[in-house]
Amino acid sequence: MKNSENNEQRASLYWWFSTLLSKELTTEQLTHYFSGEGVELLNQLAQESLFSETVTQIKSALVIIMAIKQPTLELAADFSQLFLTDAKKGAPPYASVYLSKSGQLFEKPHQEMVELFKKEGLMVDPNFKEPADHIAIQLDYLGNLIIKEGENNSQAQTNFINNQLLSWLPPFVEATKRVNNSGFYQGVCQLLLLFIKQDITALKQQ
């Protein structure tokens, strides 16, 4: 595969994760994971042996969800339980919560992202209204970084992944695992971590 195609694929996957973690799935989106391109995507990811177990977990979660009367709402409640309400038993999707001594929001990791965006002439979509260290924002940025760098030097990507993501993703993913619900988002977060780890290994080998 050509490098550019590979990069586009990588970026797309980061954006996919970003979408999944930015807000609840719509009924339309969810349908695609029952019978549609979502299934295809998961199947393709499952072919990678490193991911197969986690993809299976995501798929079983979808089966559980589908069996419930209002799957979209049920999954939304899962999303909320993990990311939107209980910051202690859940897994708030903000780096600050894991990296700052205070455990508060908008701490140094947020500031770093703000500085970075400023340097790059970017800003968070005002409608999203989340701190800049929200996982979905970081992943969105990473996708863009990949496309921008193209086939050039990948040092910026490596740095970003190491400093801004891998610094807190492991405890974040651990936190998701402590929450007991369908397991869909726990699977997604685990898959993200596996994918990032594989990605950084690949980057190092370049």
Binding site: E5, E8, Q9, A11, S12, L13, W15, W16, S18, T19, S22, K23, E24, E28, H32, G36, E37, G38, E40, L41, Q44, L73, A76, A77, F79, S80, Q81, L84, T85, D86, A87, K88, K89, G90, V97, S102, G103, Q104, L105, F106, E107, Q111, E115, F117, K118, G121, L122, M123, V124, D125, P126, F128, K129, E130, I137, D140, G143, N144, I147, N180
Partner: protein, 821 residues
């Protein structure tokens, strides 16, 4: 960097990308504003005014406003409120309620899965429930009148917004009174003609100049003067500093009548008169008895200024029904003060100029009307009411009362009522035989015993059958008594709506939760100094509302829009136009008295200073001429005996002050065999009620093993094998909680303290479950003071405690709702 997303959806995601990948979250920034180190802004709070440095959209640093010479260290907690993980970030609805509405399993409140909804849907749900209540039941089914200490700011005052918008829809149940001074504010108008608790007091300079003795009766000024109803100035502390000096120089004696050694006593290095909890009335009666028997009281003053002394004396002498003479010996057995010392105390009071300063704690107990009334009788017998540095006050610990008033007018508030002519959608005023207004602390009784008739302040109240509660900036799961009783009541509610910025226990027990922003995410203005009217402070928005939170103004504008009355609600004005309007109104009101800059200048400067006021003596005018300057009592005189109250025929509040045994009392009182420790739940030292408990780093400066402190007497602790820093299980038949032991000789044997406002954090939603953080209202009893005020009796509470054994549960509060698995 340029932004891509859709255009690169190839490969793996080629065909499905459009569905599986949403729009990007980043944009190219507009010409960035240059921020070097940030911008300093000014704002205010109950804790005082401050300047804040804002950089990169974040509050970085806070420092006290330079006019404030005695800032509270609670300013250090403000950033922690704004950036707390407890913030409500989105409109949320309890999932089970969302699916089943009024048929939801209400026993699951407190064990919640929530889902996020859009603002549009949230407001629709809120509106539809109001509509359902009005059409299915009637105005009696909705209680939207319970309000608390709100956040400061006159435009966004949350209670006003809730009241105005909901009134545009229909009538609802309302309340009278509050949890702080329910008994005091009800009894005092009968006795001295005003609430006294919310009234300006004699100026400190006059007290410092004239008083020889100051009696602090259950009154902790240094602790409580840290916060104010409006933006607090802390000007009282200057006088407390002078008082401290005068005590050291033996110019003034200050005696604190209290079961505990207060922060004030510690600070002033003043004297202590220990008294058994809840026995102030026997002590006071015995003082009165001594004054009477020893002929030390001011007969002339009583003759000129008071009514009903002759009806009171027989009670004092044991010539009425109880046949008990209120001698010092009689009192000693109850209040724990030696008879001879009681008599000495009485003689001391009449010796020189004596100022009695009563706190609010002694009226937050069963029969809380009595000590307030009896203290006024004592002051009347001393005959110094209306003299500088003499008489009695009930508010010198509150909002800088005693700092002389400039006389300037403060800014008005956002209107609480709909404008005339009203366009109320539901005009139905039929409360189905229920009362439309209830005493504030009786709403849980309404839910549990609808239709029950109770007596309150001369009226018969029929408790309405409340089905829906709406709270805004109000946390009754902190301030109401007896959590487990509340759980039972909440099982009966169909719908609960909460509007707040942080996941209080109230929000966690609600169905619809709407995120307000904090007061520092909006523009507003406030009076600087509630009673001193020192100035006007600008509250410049520090940062935009975080997450999807909105200002109260915006939230209720959305509801008004749903009612088709947005224009009526806002009067066509924006937030900033309201700020300006209130400011301009204030300029007009002060015309001829104070010159104020135009709005633009004020907003830029952030402050208008009215300077200092003139010294003033409370009730001096009445003393000068009681006919012309009559008190607001029925007779115009001080009422030692109240015909009006007597005619009500109440059992627990009769024609004159009396001693009534409590349902629970320590030191040999009822219930003390099983639960020997009196638990006081006074106002906190490091919070404003429950506000700021969510500020994590600041909270950690006082918690013990992450729990709210319980202050324990060393002997009591030792007896139970408890050391400083241990975890303690505190319990009675009503509930149980975990707290962290602070062992201190400031607390007498049989006395313990947990400050109110500690967030409720039950292990689960079941009745009786252990509170993991230490909310004292898990243990307090929900009984009225009497038929008169029907106020809270939080300080009538007996408990037992033991060293906690077993697996320590994590604290469940300070975060969003938890699902119990």
């Amino acid at each position: 960097m340029s932004i891509s997303r859709r255009s690169f959806l190839k490969g793996l995601l080629a065909s499905s990308g459009a569905v599986l990948i949403g729009p990007g979250l980043l944009q190219v920034a507009h010409a960035a504003t240059i921020e070097e180190t940030g911008q300093w802004k000014v704002s205010g709070s109950h804790w005082g005014a401050f300047r804040a440095r804002v950089y990169a959209g974040k509050v970085q640093e806070i420092k006290a406003f330079e006019v404030d010479k005695y800032p509270t260290d609670m300013l250090n907690g403000i950033k922690g409120i704004i950036y707390s993980p407890s913030r409500i970030r989105y409109p949320m609805v309890r999932y089970e309620w969302y699916l089943n509405r009024q048929k939801s399993d209400t026993t699951k409140r407190g064990d919640n899965r929530f889902i996020r909804v859009t603002w549009d849907e949230a407001i629709t749900l809120f509106h539809d429930e109001l509509e359902r209540m009005q059409t299915q039941y009637g105005p009696w089914a909705i209680h939207a009148g319970s309000t608390g200490w709100r956040s400061t700011g006159q435009v966004h005052s949350c209670g006003n917004h809730m009241a105005r918008a909901i009134a545009m829809h229909g009538y609802t149940v309302n309340k009278v009174g509050d949890y702080s001074t329910g008994a005091g504010q009800t009894i005092m108008p009968y006795v001295l003609g005003s609430t006294e608790v919310y009234a300006q007091g004699t100026s400190w300079p006059l007290i410092l100049k004239n008083s020889k003795t100051i009696v602090l009766w259950g009154n902790d000024l240094v602790k409580n003067l840290q916060v104010g109803w409006n933006c607090e100035t802390h000007e009282s502390f200057e006088y407390l500093e002078q008082l401290k000096e005068k005590i050291a120089n033996k110019e003034i004696r200050v005696i604190s009548v209290d079961p505990v050694i207060t922060k004030t006593q510690d600070y002033l290095k003043s004297e202590h008169q220990y008294i058994n909890p809840q026995t102030d009335v026997p002590f006071m009666l015995a003082i009165a008895h001594t004054l009477y028997k020893e002929n030390l009281y001011d007969k002339k003053f009583i003759d000129t200024y008071a009514l009903g002394f002759e009806e009171f004396v027989p009670y004092l002498l044991g010539k009425t029904k109880d046949k008990e003479e209120k001698t010092a010996e009689w009192a000693e057995a109850i209040c724990g003060i030696k008879a001879e010392n009681i008599r000495k105390f009485a003689r001391m009071l009449v010796k020189e100029r004596t100022q009695i300063m009563v706190g609010w704690s002694i009226q937050r107990q069963q029969h809380g009307e009595q000590p307030y009334w009896m203290a006024a009788v004592l002051a009347t017998m001393l005959g110094q009411i209306g003299l500088p540095g003499g008489g009695i006050s009930y508010a010198h610990h509150y909002s800088s009362v005693g700092v002389s008033s400039t006389g300037a007018a403060g800014p008005g508030g956002f209107p609480r009522n709909p404008d005339k002519p009203e366009k109320r959608i539901h005009k139905n005023k039929d409360f189905n035989g229920y009362s439309s207004t209830i005493p504030v602390a009786r709403w849980i009784d309404c839910i549990l015993e609808p239709g029950k008739k109770i007596q309150a302040n001369g009226a018969t109240i029929t408790l309405p059958n409340i089905k829906m509660m709406v709270f805004s900036g109000c946390n009754p799961w902190h301030h109401h008594q007896d959590r487990n009783n509340m759980k039972k009541a909440f099982h009966k509610l169909e719908t609960v709506v909460s509007i707040d910025f942080t996941w209080t226990a109230t929000c966690r027990f609600s169905d619809i939760v709407l995120p307000a922003c904090t007061q520092w995410e909006r523009n507003d203005l406030d009076l600087y100094g509630s009673y001193s009217a020192r100035g006007i402070i600008a509250m410049q928005k520090l940062v935009d509302p975080l997450f999807q939170s909105k200002t109260d103004f915006e939230i209720f504008t959305l509801l008004a829009r749903k009612l088709g009355q947005e224009q009526d609600y806002t009067r066509g004005k924006s937030e900033m136009q309201w700020v300006k309007e209130l400011y301009d109104g204030c300029v007009d009101a002060n015309k001829g008295k104070f010159t104020m800059p135009d709005f633009k200048t004020f907003w830029k400067e952030g402050f208008v200073d009215f300077g200092k006021g003139k010294d003033w003596t409370r009730q001096a005018d009445f003393r000068e001429d009681p006919e012309i300057n009559a008190l607001g009592t029925p007779s115009g005189f001080i009422e030692i005996f109240s015909r009006k109250i007597d005619r009500y025929g109440y059992k627990e509040c009769q024609g004159h002050p009396m001693w009534f045994e409590k349902s629970e009392r320590s030191h040999g009182g009822p219930g003390s065999d099983k639960h020997p420790i009196w638990l006081q739940s006074c106002h906190p030292d490091k919070r404003l009620h429950s506000q700021m408990c969510d500020s994590q780093q600041f909270r950690e400066t006082y918690t013990v093993q992450g729990r709210e402190p319980i202050y324990l007497n060393p002997q009591d602790a030792k007896q139970r094998g408890i050391k400083d820093g241990d975890l303690v299980r505190v319990f009675n038949d009503r509930g149980q909680l975990l707290a962290g032991a602070v062992v201190s000789s400031n607390f007498a044997p049989g006395v313990a303290r947990i400050e109110e406002g500690a967030w409720y954090a039950p292990i689960d939603e079941t009745i009786g479950s252990l509170d993991t953080y230490g909310d004292p209202n898990t243990l307090t009893q929900d009984i009225p003071t009497s038929e008169l005020a029907q106020a809270t009796s939080a300080n009538t509470c007996q408990v037992q405690y033991e060293k906690f054994k077993g697996k320590v549960p994590a604290v469940t509060a300070f975060t969003g709702p938890t699902e119990i698995s």
